[in-house]
Symmetry: C2
Subunit: 343 residues, 2 copies
């Protein structure tokens, strides 16, 4: 897992370089045939990446996005009216049975279909009309890391193809931001020791970092068996915050920019409840230091729009280090296999 | 809370009777102007009801549904292209600031807008073009119960207006099913004692009962401070199941019908992990008894399409009884107020 976490800058640069041509062609198609809605279908870590795609596409293009509920089609056999829709399936292995059913039916229903996968020879790569490959290299660890950040990168490209005003040099800078985030490895490893006996936690994110809250929680569940809840700052206030007692551990993604006001309020509220807070942030948001019990700050100034990839890296490092502190092997979580097939 | 739980059959019958005329008119409009997509916007318990609406509308009408991410508009200021969309906002109080912003912008963007609320005089009732009232009577408990089931009822009516083939006599039978579910009060109260010292749990549901998994977990978090995770059976297998140790408490919604195969597999898997399982089911699915540690069975045969309302009732009763066992007041959860305002 650690090795694959460290490969991310290189994998991201490779994905960007190799998929650019294909995306340019796809953009030309989208310019002619703009979708009325985008549907994203995925499970597990890929579904967390889809959650990021949902915010990114809506924020930067104004096209409404729906995260598919595959069981509507696979369990209930409903036929959905996906005319004028762009249906995007995301799967590391490309072998998620239910996601491939959604893709197949969408294609039959006349939707433009896209598959985002790490495996060029997979069932998904054969089923989708347009295939974009996450060039992360074979992922051996059960806990996905480099394919997640690769999928996030693909969503920047997809948003760009759908009309988002993103500058290529900003995307090309993401691998360097990932490298800077990796420089925190020793610091994060040392911090993880403090949480040796933590058995539950909550992770809070908002907007473009909401997906990271899901992904960080999933990594802690998979590798360290921590019962990790995940919420947006707004949803957390609508009820679940009642579970917070003194010393309750809360992890927060706290970039500067549009979501900061809401995350700042959350940090103040959690301080009032005497919770233990760990905030992931960057040099652009020094104010966090006063509010959180512990701060993980990436030594770089990062615009909020590009925080998602660098911010997940200290979280991945933390999950791997926490598993090690707990004497667990993060590459072989109990009861899990690399490919999960569900219908 | 208990009092309001018991009012549900009456409240449901009242909602159905009083809103029928308005829904018939709305159906005539929808027949002429069929939406290409439905967007549901809500927070907290109302968002759980929206989750049900999402499955119900997609399954019974084939119209794609998106659950809105309000922050896209309220925090990032994006303008979404909601042309040809039906935008439905759901709020008990009708005073959720961010949900009302979504409603207002959708109306400006040319969408047909609907507000579902318990309060005829609320801001939401003024903002929405079409208003449907949940006639639950004033809800005093912070933990919403009767407004949740009332919102589910409204979604049956909304699906019907959008073309779902639902028979009115089946909807008219729902209050009686709710009454039968209430007959379990003593049994469920006795069962709750066993969980006096439970401090974490997972709730699993699928399809039309996925929303109930969210709602049951929320009720346990709000009233009993149990750290309650919630998953669909498929998502749970994609990673989070690693948290399950022997004796880990899992609550499952297990009706007969399309989702049973998947829930049966889940029960078998959890038995293999020596988890403690509590299944909510009905007389139509006697097979559950062999597989779960404890079974709560509604003494009636219920078609899966109509299980959502009766099935949440034993869950509400359980949450209220568990709070009492733990010496807590479910009407006054710590740190919560009845109306939560977020942006």
């Amino acid at each position: 897992m650690l090795e694959e976490i460290r490969q991310q800058p290189e994998a991201l640069a490779r994905t960007l370089a190799s998929e650019m041509k294909r995306i340019e062609k796809f953009k030309a198609l989208m310019d002619r045939r703009k979708p009325r809605m985008v549907v994203l279908a995925a499970r597990g870590t890929s579904d967390n990446a889809a959650q990021f795609g949902r915010y990114l596409i809506e924020i930067t293009t104004g096209i409404p996005v729906s995260l598919a509920a595959p069981s509507v089609q696979t369990v209930y056999g409903a036929k959905l009216n996906y005319k004028d829709a762009l249906v995007v399936a995301i799967s590391q292995s490309g072998e998620s049975t239910d996601i491939n059913v959604v893709l197949e039916q969408a294609r039959k229903a006349g939707a433009v279909t896209v598959g985002i996968t790490n495996e060029a020879g997979s069932a998904m790569a054969k089923l989708a009309e347009h295939v974009f490959l996450v060039r992360a290299g074979r992922e051996k660890s059960v806990a996905a890391t480099k394919t997640y950040s690769g999928q996030l990168m693909m969503f920047y490209l997809l948003a760009w193809a759908l009309g988002a005003k993103l500058r290529m040099e900003d995307l090309e800078n993401i691998p360097a931001l990932a490298q800077t985030a990796l420089s925190l490895e020793m610091e994060v490893t040392a911090l993880a020791e403090r949480y040796r006996f933590m058995n539950h936690a909550v992770v809070v994110g908002r907007g473009l970092n909401y997906a990271n809250a899901f992904e960080f929680a999933l990594k802690m569940m998979e590798t360290s068996y921590v019962i990790a809840e995940r919420f947006s700052a707004a949803d957390f206030l609508h009820g679940p915050i009642a579970i917070v007692e003194p010393d309750f551990p809360a992890f927060l993604f706290a970039p500067s920019g549009p979501t900061w006001k809401s995350m700042e309020e959350m940090l103040l509220r959690l301080r009032g409840l005497k919770a233990e807070t760990v905030a992931i942030t960057d040099r652009r948001n020094p104010g966090v230091a006063k509010l959180a019990t512990r701060v993980i700050s990436i030594p770089e100034r990062i615009p909020e729009l590009f925080t998602a990839i660098p911010y997940i890296i200290p979280a991945q490092l933390f999950a791997a280090a926490l598993a090690a502190e707990k004497g667990l092997d993060p590459d072989k979580p109990r009861t899990l296999a690399k490919i999960t097939r569900t219908l």
